[in-house]
C-alpha cells in the first residue's frame, strides 16, 4: 500500500504542473488572438483548386473505367462478384415467403437459444411486417448477410493468424486502430469512385467497419487458450494444424461466436451510412424520412432496425452453442435438446414449403399494415409547440454561450496560431512526437483548403466533448460510489451501446430540428454511456486499501473524490476522454445529415451532387485528419490501457474498440 501511495504522489504533482503549463498556453493564445484577430484566416471557397483537382481525378476515373487494366481485371471483377452475391442472396430470400422466413428465424432461435427467444424473434419480425417495412428489412438483411459473411471469411482467418503470431499481431494492430478511428463517412466517397454506387460499395464500406472487431476478438480468443493446454498437446506430438483444429479453435469457440455477434451488430449500426451510397433498405427509409423531416416515418424505420438488431443479436449471441443445457424445461415439459432441434427443423421446413405454396415470393400482406407515423408526428408537433420556449432557450444558450465564441476564435485566428496552440497542447499533455503529428495533420487540412469547415466541425466536437465529459464524469463517479445508481445505469448503458448510432439523431432532431445543436446533442447522448462505464470502472478500480488509508487520515467525501479517486483513476479518465472524442467526432460528422453544416455536410453533398465530389473527398480526408489530431492530443501520456470490457458488451456499436493492446 505504501508503494502505491508513493507512486501516486509524484504523478499527481506532475499533472498539476501540466495544468499550469496549459493555463499559460491558454493565456498566451488569447493575447495573440486579440492582437491578430482577422489576420491569416482561410475562408471557405467552394471552387478552391483542391476541389477542382479532385473533380478532375473523378473525371479521369470515369473516363478510364472501362479501359484501365486495374479496373478491368481487378476492381471490376471484385465489384461484379459482390454484386452477383447480392443478387443470389436477394433472390434466395425473396423465394422464401415471409412465412418461411419467420419459420426459419423462429426455428434457429428454438434450436440454439430457447423457446422464449423463439417467441420473441417471431414477435419482433411480425412487428416489422406490421409496420410495413418487410421489404426494406429484407434488403437490409441481404446487405448485412453479405458484408458479415465476407467480414468473417476474411476476418476470422486473419484473427487466427494474429492470435498465433506475435509479429502479425504487431503488424495488423495499427491498421485495425486506423480502420476504427476513421469515421465511416471518410471512405464512402473514394469507395463509390472505385466501385460505383451500389451493393459492392455498400458491402465493402460495411466490411471495413465491421471486420476489425472480428479480427481482434478472434485473436483474443486464440490467445486466451491456456499455454499449458497447447504445451500438453505439443508434448503429445500434435502438429501445428492439430493444435489449431483440436485445441485452439474448440476452446476459443465461444469467443469466436462473440466475434460473429459483434460483427453483425457493427454492420447493422452503419446501414444508414451505407444508405448514403444508395444501399436500399431500412437505412434508405431513414435517410429519406430525415431529408423530408418526416419524424414519424424515421422513427418507424428506426424501430424496425432496433427490432432487427435484437433478433440478430439474440439468435447469434449464443451461436457458439456451447454451454447449452441438454434438457430444456418448457413449463412442466422436459424436452431433450435433440428433440427440440428436430422440432425446430420440422418447423423451418414446413414453414418454407407452406409459405412457398401459399404465397410464393409474396411480401408481408399490405392489408395488415399499421402506421404509427401519424400519431408520432402529432406527438412531436405537440412537444415542439409546448416546449418551444425551453428547447429554444437551451439551443440559443449553448449556441451563444459556447458554440459561437469558440467558433469565432477558431475561424478568425490566424491559422498558424491555431496550429501552434494545438501542437502546444499535444506537447504538454502527450509528447513532442504527438505535437509533430498534430501540426502535420492541421497543416494538411490547410492544404486541403477545408480549414474553415474543419474549424466549425472542431467547435462542435469541443463543445460536445466538454459536455460529454462533464456528464460522464459526474455520472461515472456517482455510479462508482453508489450501488443503486450503478445498478440503474448499467443496463441503460448496455442497451444504449447496442443501438445503432444514428438512432440518437432522431430524438435530438425531434426536439431541436435540423441545426448544429442537434448534432451536438446526439453526439453527447451517443458518447456518454461509454464514458460513464470507463469512469465508473476506473474509480472502482482504486484499491480499497488506499481508500481505507485516506478515510483513516480523515478525508471528507469531496476530498476523497478529488484527491484520491479521480487522480488514481487518471488512466481511465484519459482513456474515457480519448474514447469520448472519437465517438463524438463520428456523431458530429453524421450530424451533417441533420443540418449541422461543416465537414459532415460537405461529405454528404459530395455523394448527391456531382459538382461537389471534390469538396466531399477533401472534407472526408479532413475528417480523418481531425480524428488523428484529436486522438493524438487525448491519448495522454503512458501506454494506452486496453479496454477489456470490449469483449463483453462495451464494444458494441462503438466506433473504436481498442481491444488487445496487450501482447
Amino acid at each position: 500500500m505504501t508503494d502505491i501511495a508513493a507512486t501516486v504522489q509524484p504523478r499527481f504533482a506532475l499533472s498539476l504542473g501540466r495544468v499550469g503549463q496549459l493555463l499559460a498556453l491558454g493565456v498566451l493564445f488569447l493575447i495573440a488572438f486579440v492582437v491578430l484577430q482577422g489576420n491569416g484566416t482561410l475562408p471557405h471557397k467552394d471552387d478552391s483548386q483542391v476541389f477542382l483537382t479532385l473533380n478532375g481525378v473523378r473525371d479521369w476515373v470515369d473516363a478510364n473505367r472501362s479501359t484501365n487494366p486495374v479496373f478491368v481485371y481487378v476492381l471490376g471483377p471484385i465489384r461484379a462478384a459482390i454484386d452477383g452475391l447480392d443478387g443470389i442472396v436477394t433472390s434466395l430470400l425473396s423465394q422464401a415467403s415471409w412465412i418461411g422466413l419467420l419459420a426459419v428465424a423462429g426455428a434457429l432461435a428454438l434450436a440454439f437459444v430457447s423457446w422464449r427467444t423463439a417467441l420473441l424473434v417471431i414477435g419482433s419480425l411480425l412487428a416489422i411486417g406490421l409496420l410495413g417495412l418487410w421489404t426494406e428489412t429484407l434488403q437490409t438483411l441481404v446487405l448485412i448477410a453479405n458484408s458479415v459473411a465476407l467480414s468473417l471469411l476474411i476476418g476470422i482467418p486473419l484473427g487466427i493468424l494474429a492470435g498465433r503470431n506475435d509479429r502479425f499481431l504487431a503488424f495488423i494492430t495499427p491498421i485495425l486502430d486506423f480502420m476504427q478511428i476513421m469515421p465511416t463517412f471518410a471512405y464512402l466517397a473514394p469507395l463509390t469512385l472505385i466501385f460505383l454506387i451500389g451493393p459492392a460499395s455498400a458491402v465493402i464500406a460495411t466490411l471495413i467497419y465491421a471486420m476489425p472487431p472480428a479480427i481482434r476478438i478472434t485473436s483474443l480468443g486464440i490467445r486466451g487458450v491456456p499455454v499449458q493446454t497447447v504445451e500438453a498437446a505439443e508434448s503429445l506430438g500434435a502438429t501445428d494444424g492439430q493444435v489449431l483444429r483440436k485445441v485452439q479453435l474448440p476452446i476459443a469457440r465461444r469467443t469466436i461466436g462473440l466475434a460473429v455477434n459483434q460483427t453483425i451488430m457493427m454492420a447493422l449500426s452503419i446501414i444508414v451510412i451505407a444508405a448514403l451510397i444508395n444501399a436500399p433498405g431500412l437505412g434508405e427509409s431513414i435517410i429519406v424520412a430525415i431529408e423530408k423531416l418526416k419524424f414519424g416515418a424515421a422513427v418507424t424505420a428506426g424501430i424496425a432496425i432496433v427490432l432487427l438488431a435484437m433478433v440478430l443479436d439474440r439468435i447469434t449471441a449464443s451461436a457458439s452453442g456451447a454451454g447449452l443445457p441438454a434438457v430444456i424445461a418448457i413449463g412442466p415439459l422436459r424436452v431433450p435438446r435433440r428433440t427440440l432441434r428436430i422440432i425446430a427443423l420440422a418447423i423451418a421446413v414446413v414453414g418454407l414449403l407452406g409459405g412457398a405454396l401459399a404465397s410464393a415470393g409474396s411480401s408481408f400482406p399490405a392489408a395488415w399494415h399499421v402506421s404509427i407515423a401519424k400519431p408520432l408526428d402529432d406527438a412531436v408537433r405537440w412537444v415542439e409547440l409546448t416546449f418551444a420556449g425551453l428547447t429554444d432557450a437551451l439551443k440559443n444558450g449553448v449556441s451563444a454561450g459556447l458554440l459561437d465564441p469558440i467558433q469565432t476564435v477558431l475561424t478568425t485566428s490566424p491559422w498558424w496560431l491555431v496550429i501552434a496552440a494545438a501542437a502546444g497542447i499535444a506537447a504538454i499533455v502527450n509528447s513532442t512526437r504527438a505535437a509533430v503529428v498534430v501540426a502535420v495533420a492541421l497543416v494538411l487540412i490547410v492544404l486541403l483548403q477545408v480549414w474553415e469547415h474543419a474549424m466549425q466541425t472542431l467547435t462542435m466536437v469541443i463543445v460536445s466533448v466538454v459536455l460529454t465529459m462533464a456528464i460522464g464524469i459526474v455520472l461515472g463517479v456517482w455510479a462508482a460510489r453508489n450501488r443503486v445508481v450503478s445498478a440503474v445505469l448499467r443496463p441503460i448503458n448496455d442497451a444504449a451501446q447496442t443501438l445503432p448510432s444514428f438512432v440518437y439523431l432522431l430524438p435530438a432532431l425531434a426536439l431541436f430540428g435540423p441545426t448544429r445543436f442537434t448534432a451536438i446533442l446526439a453526439a453527447v447522448i451517443y458518447s456518454v454511456p461509454a464514458v460513464v462505464r470507463l469512469v465508473e470502472d476506473g474509480v472502482r478500480g482504486v484499491s480499497p486499501t488506499v481508500i481505507e488509508a485516506a478515510t483513516a487520515a480523515g478525508a471528507s467525501r469531496l476530498q476523497m473524490i478529488r484527491k484520491v479517486q479521480l487522480p488514481m483513476a487518471r488512466r481511465s479518465l484519459l482513456v474515457a476522454t480519448n474514447q469520448g472524442v472519437v465517438l463524438v467526432l463520428a456523431m458530429v460528422v453524421l450530424g451533417g445529415l441533420v443540418g449541422a453544416q461543416a465537414l459532415g455536410f460537405d461529405v454528404v453533398s459530395g455523394f448527391s451532387q456531382r459538382n461537389f465530389f471534390g469538396r466531399g473527398v477533401a472534407a472526408a480526408i479532413g475528417i480523418v485528419l481531425l480524428g488523428v489530431m484529436l486522438d493524438r492530443i487525448t491519448q495522454g501520456t503512458g501506454q494506452r490501457r486496453s479496454v477489456r470490457g470490449v469483449v463483453g458488451r462495451l464494444g458494441v456499436g462503438l466506433n473504436s474498440n481498442r481491444a488487445s493492446r496487450e501482447a
Partner: protein, 372 residues
C-alpha cells in the same frame, strides 16, 4: 506401506542391474538461456558451445536468465530419476528441453542413443507421440472434451482409429482408478482426479519414458500419497522409465532410484536417495535433507562395520539393502549384532547399539560410514 519406500527387494532395474545397451536418456553439457543473451550467444557461436564464462558474461551484458547451466546426467532404462530443487532452479525448463518443447541453447541430448538436437520436427513429433510422454503440474487437459476423449487425445493425434483409441482409453481409465468418470468434463473432477486423467493420457500411448513435472504438487497430502503409490505401482507393473520432478524430498526419496538436486540451473548433487541423506554434497543439500529421519532412508550398508572373527554367528540375518527402520524390531529382540549379507556372503555386521543410535539421532550426528 505408509511413509517408507518399497523395500529394497522390490526396487526394480536401476538398483544394481543396469540393462545392457546404454542409458535411455543421456544429457551432456546442456544450457538453456532465456532472454536477449540467447540470440547473441547462438548467433556468435553457431552450434559449438562457448565456455561457461563466456555464457555468464553474455547474460550479464545483454540481459537474460541461465535457466539450465551445463547440466549432464544419464537416466538408465527402467529407473525413476528424480529432479529436485527450489522454485526457479530450472527443473521444468530442463525436462521440457528433453523433447525440445523448449529449444535448448547448447548441449547434447541423446534419447536411446539418437541425437535429439539434430532431429527434424517430424521425427520429434514421432518421438513425442510414441516414446516420450509428459504429465504436467497443471494437468493441461482439454476443457471441451470429456475424460475419455482427453485420455484418447494422444492416440487421436497419431491417427489411431476411433474404436482402437476409445478401447485403449477405457483400459487406461480403469488403470488409474477412474471407472465411471468417462463421460465427465475435466471441470467436473477434483484436482486428484484430473491428474489421474493426465496420467492416463500419458500412459495411453504406451510410451517408454514418462516425464512428470511436479505432477502432484497441486494435490492435498492424502491424494498425493495415493498418487505416489499409484506411480510406484505403475512403475513396478509397467516398467516405465521415468523422469520425475518434485519440490518434495520425501517424495523424491520415496520414488527415486537416483535423485538429482539442482540450484540456479546447476547440478549440486546426483546420487541414490541414501547417498544424499548420508553424504550431502554441500550445505544446500544438507538443508534439504536435514529433517529426514535417516533410519527411514539409509540401508544397512551405510551403518555396518567389517565382521570380526569373534562376533557371534547366530545373530539375525538381513540383506545389505534393508532399510534400517526395518531391522529395529529384530535388533531390539536380541543383543547380538545383526549379520549383513549380500549375494549369500557375509559382508559385515551392525551392532545393536549403533542401530538404536541412528534411530534416536534422527540423522543429526549419528555416524555413518561409507558404503563398501
Amino acid at each position: 506401506m505408509t511413509t517408507v519406500a518399497a523395500p529394497p527387494a522390490t526396487r526394480p532395474a536401476g538398483k544394481g542391474s543396469p540393462a545392457a545397451g546404454g542409458p535411455t536418456i543421456s544429457v551432456r553439457g546442456l544450457w538453456k538461456v532465456f532472454g536477449p543473451a540467447e540470440q547473441r550467444l547462438t548467433r556468435r557461436a553457431g552450434s559449438a558451445a562457448p565456455s561457461a564464462d563466456q555464457i555468464e558474461a553474455a547474460v550479464r551484458d545483454h540481459g537474460g536468465t541461465v535457466a539450465v547451466g551445463d547440466v549432464s546426467f544419464d537416466v538408465r532404462p527402467g529407473e525413476v530419476f528424480v529432479v529436485m530443487g527450489l522454485s526457479g532452479s530450472g527443473k521444468s525448463t530442463l525436462v521440457r528441453c528433453l523433447t525440445r518443447l523448449i529449444e535448448p541453447t547448447f548441449g547434447e541430448i541423446d534419447l536411446d542413443g539418437e541425437n535429439i538436437r539434430k532431429a527434424s520436427q517430424e521425427r520429434l513429433r514421432e518421438l513425442r507421440r510414441r516414446r516420450f510422454s509428459m504429465v504436467f503440474q497443471n494437468f493441461g487437459l482439454l476443457p471441451h472434451r470429456r475424460v475419455l476423449e482427453n485420455i484418447a487425445f494422444g492416440l487421436e493425434l497419431r491417427g489411431e482409429s476411433k474404436a482402437t483409441r476409445l478401447t485403449r482409453a477405457d483400459e487406461m481409465l480403469g488403470l488409474v482408478g477412474l471407472d465411471g468418470m468417462a463421460e465427465r468434463y475435466p471441470d467436473e473432477l477434483s484436482g486428484g482426479q484430473q491428474q489421474r486423467v493426465g496420467l492416463a493420457r500419458a500412459l495411453a500411448g504406451d510410451p517408454e519414458v514418462m516425464l512428470l513435472d511436479e505432477p502432484f504438487s497441486a494435490l492435498d497430502p492424502l491424494i498425493r500419497r495415493d498418487m505416489q503409490n499409484e506411480v510406484i505401482r505403475l512403475h513396478h507393473d509397467l516398467r516405465k522409465t521415468m523422469v520425475f520432478i518434485t519440490h518434495d524430498l520425501a517424495e523424491a526419496l520415496k520414488l527415486g532410484d537416483h535423485v538429482m538436486i539442482m540450484r540456479a540451473g546447476k547440478i549440486v548433487q546426483i546420487g541414490r536417495p541414501e547417498e544424499l541423506v548420508a553424504r550431502p554434497a554441500d550445505e544446500y543439500v544438507e538443508d534439504f535433507v536435514r529433517d529426514i529421519p535417516k533410519s527411514h532412508v539409509l540401508t544397512l550398508r551405510w551403518v555396518m562395520r567389517p565382521a570380526n572373527a569373534n562376533d557371534p554367528v547366530d545373530g539375525p540375518v538381513f540383506p545389505v539393502d534393508t532399510i534400517i527402520r526395518m531391522v529395529i524390531h529384530a535388533a531390539a529382540a536380541t543383543d547380538k549384532p545383526i549379520r549383513v549379507i549380500e549375494d549369500g556372503q557375509l559382508v559385515g555386521v551392525v551392532d545393536r547399539a549403533h542401530i538404536l543410535e541412528t534411530v534416536a539421532g534422527q540423522g543429526n550426528d549419528a555416524e555413518v560410514g561409507p558404503p563398501t
